[in-house]
């Protein structure tokens, strides 16, 4: 049986643990990449991936679209907190992150079988690639952020 005093201590500890998770999560988000950057990378990748397959080699120049993204990334990193290296994170290597990464690879290989010929089909493929890619990348990012919070609060090294 827990005494009222212990119960108060437990409530305080639970409240503090909640604030720990919240602060760590906030810092992980602040030190990560902006959401817009991630969306742009997925959008450009969907376009490049589809057009390079539909119109090679005329579409190879599309890879240049990554240049502004690289510039954005460099600018976004200025003044941001430097993320800690994940030394030993089982939830990252064997958990949701690895699972979604595997599905991502599977999706890319499945989409390669879709030979988009007409303009409508190309647009449809870009949309499908973008939506599914965005879903998986968001899930991976969430799992990665969670692993970083756990690593920061549990690992001494």
């Amino acid at each position: 049986m827990v005494s009222p005093k212990d119960r108060t201590g437990q409530d305080d500890a639970a409240r503090l643990l909640q604030s720990v998770a919240q602060e760590s999560g906030q810092m992980v988000k602040a030190s990560g990449n902006p959401r817009g950057l991630l969306t742009s990378v997925v959008a450009i990748s969907a376009v490049v991936f589809t057009l390079i397959q539909a119109y090679p080699p005329q579409a190879y120049w599309l890879a240049l679209l990554y240049l502004p993204i690289i510039l954005w990334y460099v600018l976004a990193q200025r003044g941001r907190a430097r993320p800690r290296t994940l030394i030993n994170s089982p939830s990252l290597l064997a958990g949701a992150y690895a699972g979604y990464f595997f599905i991502c690879i599977l999706l890319i290989n499945c989409l390669r079988f879709w030979d988009a010929a007409g303009m409508e089909e190309v647009i449809a493929k870009i949309v499908v690639t973008f939506i599914s890619g965005m879903y998986l990348v968001t899930k991976m990012q969430t799992a990665y952020n969670k692993a970083r919070v756990e690593d920061g609060n549990d690992q001494v090294l």
Binding site: V2, D6, G9, Q10, A13, A14, L16, L17, S19, V20, A21, Q22, E23, S24, Q26, M27, V28, A30, S31, G79, R80, A81, R82, P83, R84, T85, S89, P90, S91, R148, V149, E150, D151, G152, N153, D154, Q155, V156, L157
Partner: protein, 100 residues
């Protein structure tokens, strides 16, 4: 939640709510600039400076001052001792919440 790699040990210095929040903010990063830490915590410069100094004096934080474009900046990070104390304190809080 993964298993803590440190022995649970309650730390009075870290237990103060703002100091715990400072450590929690620094835990998932190698270092953070003072301005970003302040933005993350939403506290005044003077309040944050005071608590950062207390943690620094105890050897829990490494405080590095540097100049960038003619302006002075401060970079804060958890030291090895600080990280050990913080992880141990979080483990102690978990133990308290786990008491039946």
């Amino acid at each position: 939640m993964t298993k803590s790699s440190s022995k649970a040990q309650f730390d009075e210095l870290i237990h103060a709510p703002l100091r715990l929040r400072i450590c929690a903010s620094l835990a998932p990063v190698k270092w953070a600039e003072f301005a970003q830490l302040k933005q993350n915590l939403g506290v005044a410069d003077s309040v944050l400076s005071k608590h950062v100094k207390q943690l620094g004096d105890a050897g829990y934080l490494d405080i590095e001052r540097f100049a960038k474009l003619g302006r002075s900046h401060m970079r804060v990070s958890l030291t090895r001792i600080g990280r050990r104390a913080y992880v141990g304190h979080v483990a102690a809080l978990r133990e308290i919440t786990a008491i039946k």
